[in-house]
């Protein structure tokens, strides 16, 4: 089921899809409102979400073993979550990373040489946005190549929500004890990677599924280690 962009143009032709219509015609709904790349109404279908649904999905992203995330989002995948979770994570990494460096230097006794490093914002933005956009895209093409039916918007949604754990773990990472920071980041990375892996496995069943799942797991762990090494060392 391809969504983006569909080649068969506007099916229903109505402006703002309501929740009722989206649930009863979910096979048609993704293609119904595409008005071109530069029209805002084409994208409102991916933001058709309420506060309580977003909170529900955020809570769902915290359970690493469940594997039922895709069933939550299959009807109405949203891009609101991934965008604002990534943006919040960029801000958290830049600000708390600076603060953590300051605390580390104060703890080590030479706190006067610290200055605010604006470069953290740039690195955080490139790393997080790049990861959140490129990795699901890569897996989408990989799974298309392997023959299974993948849905790009759902992949973006799932990977975006998987970053929520890092936002929560950014606060404990302030504690300026090196071994504690490593434990926290490995735990958070493992939880997030299990979330991605178990959801991916429930999505693609097949012989190659194991390799794909393991690759996703390792990429998520690599992101976690990068966050620790660059921002909180």
């Amino acid at each position: 089921m391809q969504i983006l962009p569909p080649n068969n143009g506007g099916g229903k032709g109505q402006g703002y899809p309501s929740l009722a219509s989206s649930s009863e015609t979910f096979e048609q709904q993704p293609t119904g409102n595409w008005r071109g790349v530069f029209s805002i109404t084409s994208y409102t279908q991916y933001f058709n979400i309420d506060t309580d649904v977003v909170l529900n999905r955020l809570m769902g992203s915290l359970s690493p073993i469940d594997g039922s995330f895709f069933s939550k989002i299959v009807v109405n995948p949203d891009i609101y979550g991934p965008i604002w979770i990534s943006t919040t994570l960029v801000f958290m990494l830049a600000s708390l990373g600076n603060w953590a460096t300051y605390l580390m230097e104060k703890h080590a006794g030479k706190g006067s040489s610290w200055t605010f490093d604006v470069n953290y914002v740039n690195v955080a933005a490139i790393a997080i946005y790049g990861y959140a956009i490129a990795v699901p895209l890569g897996f989408y093409f990989l799974l298309q190549y392997l023959g299974s039916n993948a849905n790009l918007v759902q992949f973006w949604c799932m990977w975006g929500y998987s970053l929520f754990i890092f936002i929560l773990s950014a606060f404990p990472l302030l504690i300026p004890v090196e071994i504690l920071r490593w434990i926290i980041i490995v735990a958070a990375g493992a939880a997030s990677a299990c979330f991605v892996g178990s959801n991916l496995r429930s999505y693609v069943d097949g012989a190659d599924a194991t390799i794909v799942v393991i690759a996703a797991f390792f990429l998520q762990m690599a992101l976690a280690v990068f966050i620790k090494v660059w921002f909180f060392s």
Binding site: F47, I49, D50, T51, D52, W84, F91, F116, N122
Partner: protein
């Protein structure tokens, strides 16, 4: 400088030199009396606007915002400095040719009057947005008279203040602050539109820019007095003030079930700017 007679205002039939014509116009405006700064004329062509309050739309009784030149959508903060008299005069001429008969008087007004009019609009918008008074007579006025000069000044001022307080990498700090604020205003507006909300793009940019004023004050205080505790307190207070000022406009634009989704990014942007203010020293 050539001056073709085809665009002479048809008061003088005979051909004259440039200087004579302008002198005559000045004399004519002086003779016609002092009340030429805000000419009375039919309401300006409707600017895109959506009333925020639930009360019926009250047509404004004050003289409408002047001149077609200000109704062209100005690009967000890369707007050029106030246009020189000649370009505003071209706007006047096209306006006058379409029937607003008293517009030519602003052709000859001193530049200070033009600037003063813009400044008074900025101040009145500021009072309406940042110090909202629940008993004011016309709640939708700030939305109707939106402009982009105010937001531009506030964003640049905040960038300059942060850059001044930074001890290293000053230009990078300015760039980050400016980019975050400008891109942030655009993205927040798009966010509201994508959530199905009803808001006009430039109105929203204007409002978000005006709501930065408390943070500007906070940044200035933090620049002058360098103590961490004071900075934290000042930033928290001004942050709360900015968010409180932006709350009614953002929350009334979307479906009530999605209010938090529209407000969270606003708070995120102001918190990130507040953090920049605290952290730069």
């Amino acid at each position: 400088m050539s001056h073709s007679h085809s665009d002479t205002i048809p008061l003088h039939a005979s051909s004259q030199s440039d200087i004579d014509e302008i002198e005559n116009l000045i004399n004519a405006s002086v003779l016609s009396g002092p009340a030429t700064v805000l000419p009375a004329r039919p309401p300006s062509p409707p600017r895109a606007q959506i009333p925020v309050s639930s009360s019926p739309f009250i047509p404004s009784n004050i003289p409408p915002p002047p001149l077609a030149s200000h109704q062209k959508p100005t690009p967000v903060p890369a707007a050029p400095p106030p246009p020189p008299v000649s370009s505003s005069s071209q706007g006047n001429r096209t306006v006058s040719s379409s029937g607003f008969g008293s517009a030519p008087n602003t052709l000859t007004e001193p530049v200070w009057d033009t600037v003063k009019r813009d400044l008074s609009r900025i101040v009145s918008n500021l009072k309406l947005v940042v110090f909202p008074n629940p008993y004011r007579e016309d709640p939708g006025k700030a939305l109707r008279d939106w402009d982009l000069w105010g937001p531009f000044f506030f964003i640049v001022f905040l960038g300059l203040t942060l850059s001044w307080s930074a001890s290293v990498k000053k230009s990078e700090v300015f760039a980050v602050a400016f980019a975050v604020l400008a891109a942030g205003a655009v993205i927040l507006t798009l966010n509201v539109l994508l959530l199905g909300g009803k808001i006009i793009f430039f109105q929203s940019l204007s409002l978000l820019g005006y709501c930065l004023f408390p943070l500007d004050v906070g940044a200035l205080i933090c620049l002058l007095k360098d103590s961490v505790i004071l900075k934290v307190i000042v930033v928290c207070v001004t942050l709360a003030w900015s968010s409180w000022a932006a709350y009614p406009f953002m929350s009334s634009a979307v479906n009530p079930r999605r209010k938090a989704l529209a407000l969270y990014p606003v708070c995120l942007m102001y918190v990130s700017v507040g953090f920049l203010i605290i952290a730069i020293d």
